[in-house]
Subunit: 384 residues, 2 copies
């Protein structure tokens, strides 16, 4: 009986915008959701009275929070995995599974996993420190160009450094890292797949990304992608196989590259709702947020069908602005049709901080992209 | 600057499902919403931490709640209007205006207003008590069939009594009432219009209703209506004129009849989001809930365009079931495509109580209606 399922208490670690949107999806279904994060300034608090103040990286706080939930999930990977492992041993349902999280939260382990399982990933070497990298470059055993990624501290484009020339060597990151071949990228795209407790799977249409040149954040994405359909099918199959191999429960967002020779490479994955799936709220039959919850509850996943063409624009804090957030150009974009504004409710803006997003839909991709440019030229997050 | 507008604190009187959905729409836009209602079992609490426990019919409670808001609005008409009038005098923005509410909350005044302003409404007589009605029937000055409506206590089909034969006379309602001619109804439909502070107006496509034969509640609606397009235009124009005459700010839902001779009659109005507009969440460019908030904030209203055919099914408590709510058939309907489940989160079910709704969309009306029948045959709210 479905009744039992609605009664399950779902605890979400992390109260950022992804947590907020999970709560919004869950509240429509009448689910019992709770959230833990540091304080009430976090976006999810505004939609979740069942909010516990606590540190999601603290063993004690996660254990305490978990004791009041039947199912635990995350909206950010940087959580206390030891606590999640302990909760799983106690019989709580923890999704993604801590064993999957162990792999995904360490970019070194991720690469070893891809290689071992035969997924296409660029060649790599693991390093303990930046001195080792400098040494290998001096010895000639490591050749430019390459990409350095910190194994555990990367998020939202942070912790990634591209080295093309000697000048880039000074900015090498300190800490254990993966150094991988720089792929000659033609396109960047992502596939979000869902896998339920009992193993049902669903994949969203491929979304294609454009990155902000300075912040290394997704600035703009559109869906469905325009890469050749054979490549889209290949990408979806890879994402599905990856989610199975990782024994995922919930969403897995798989970021991939298409190189200039037409080969697909797996870049990295996120075991949760993802920035590249925001548009599913308005453009797809079921949003990624609802899909994640369905997967955790072992409900039928339903349809990932995309009903409208969509573009998603991240609303980033403007450069040179720090402080209380103000939104310029709001009225102008409110007058546009099929332009869906999401303001996360963060009080303070800073350059490139994700303050919201706008999804633009249309009956053609061209129409949606044209409106997206207009939105980007109009809407700014500044400080007062 | 739009900044000032986002900063306005909007207080909602009433924490039912309409309040909940207003909060859901507002939270996406990052608005500062608060809600007042009796206790935390009310649906809106689950999405609004800024929830004040209080009695919306109490002068003191409404005054106290209003002191912490810049704009006051309602999700149910049965509120303390004296307090809203006092708050308006203090300079608060109160929408709908108390003067509009005074007319709308008294079905006698509503009828007088329609008649005075020349809107098509059935002939009527005002009565102070049921004895007066009995007397007029005995005297032969009041002839069956007629409809008796309590002037102030009606809601969701309650407070309405149809008298066709002598047998119906025993169930006449006690209290001041309007007695009006029974219209020979061919179709029932509604038009939801919005009017902003500065007078911008927008109308949603006409929705057509089917009533539950026993509960006198909307059981099923579909949009757009299939009544002749000339009639739809006439209905929209009537609704717009009515909202202007009433000096509405926010939404006005206008329920109308089409009689068998093809004439349109205004039945009654609601100055707030309405059951007949639930489908706008998934089927229209902008939902009625967001539209209401835009109107209060004097933002551009944007588009009311309907992007998919839609059917809305109220999810009512099953007959014979009282107690803790359980949802039967949930998994089956979750597997259907474009079927959007809204569970309000009320703990207790009782016969015909509105426990949720389901919006079904499709690329044709026939497709959506067929799925709606399937939903109605599958999904039940029972008690454990």
């Amino acid at each position: 009986m479905a009744t039992d399922t609605i009664g399950k208490r779902i605890g979400i670690l992390g109260g950022g915008q992804l947590g907020k949107m999970l709560c919004q999806a869950g509240s429509r279904l009448g689910l019992m959701l709770s959230v833990m994060d540091k304080d009430h300034t976090f976006p999810a608090y505004s939609v979740c009275p069942n909010f516990t103040m606590g540190d999601i990286t603290s063993y004690e706080d996660v254990m305490a929070f978990g004791s009041n939930a039947d199912i635990l999930t995350i909206e950010i990977e940087k959580v206390n995995i030891e606590a999640l492992e302990a909760l799983e041993r106690e019989g709580k349902e923890v999704y993604p599974r801590p064993s999957s999280l162990r792999i995904i939260t360490d970019k070194g382990k991720q690469k070893i996993f891809y290689e071992g399982a035969g997924f296409p990933t660029s060649d790599f070497v693991l390093y303990k420190s930046k001195d080792e990298i400098i040494n290998d470059v001096e010895q000639g055993t490591l050749k430019m160009p390459f990409v350095q990624k910190l194994r555990t501290e990367g998020y939202d484009g942070r912790g990634v450094h591209v080295v093309k020339t000697d000048d880039d060597m000074v900015a090498l990151l300190e800490g254990a890292s993966v150094v991988e071949d720089l792929i000659d990228v033609d396109k960047e795209f992502a596939v979000i797949v869902a896998r339920s407790v009992s193993g049902e799977m669903a994949a969203y249409p491929v979304v294609e990304m454009q990155f902000h040149p300075m912040a290394n954040l997704v600035e703009f994405l559109f869906s469905p992608s325009t890469i050749p359909s054979a490549k889209q099918i290949e990408a979806s199959q890879l994402a599905i196989q990856l989610a199975e191999k990782l024994e995922m429960v919930g969403l897995l967002a798989v970021e991939m590259f298409l190189d200039k020779s037409g080969k697909i490479w797996i870049n990295e994955v996120a075991p949760r709702p993802h920035n590249s799936g925001h548009h599913t709220i308005e453009a797809c039959a079921i949003s990624q947020y609802e899909m994640h919850l369905r997967a955790l509850l072992d409900w039928p996943l339903g349809s990932t069908e995309q009903l409208r063409y969509a573009v998603m624009v991240n609303l980033l804090g403007a450069e040179g602005h720090n402080g209380a957030a103000e939104y310029q150009g709001l009225r102008e974009i409110m007058a546009m049709s099929e332009v869906y504004l999401h303001i996360y409710g963060k009080k303070e803006t800073k350059p490139f901080r994700k303050m919201g997003h706008v999804t633009i839909t249309g009956s053609s991709l061209e129409e949606a992209i044209a409106k997206a440019h207009q939105v980007q030229n109009t809407l700014k997050v500044i400080s007062s």
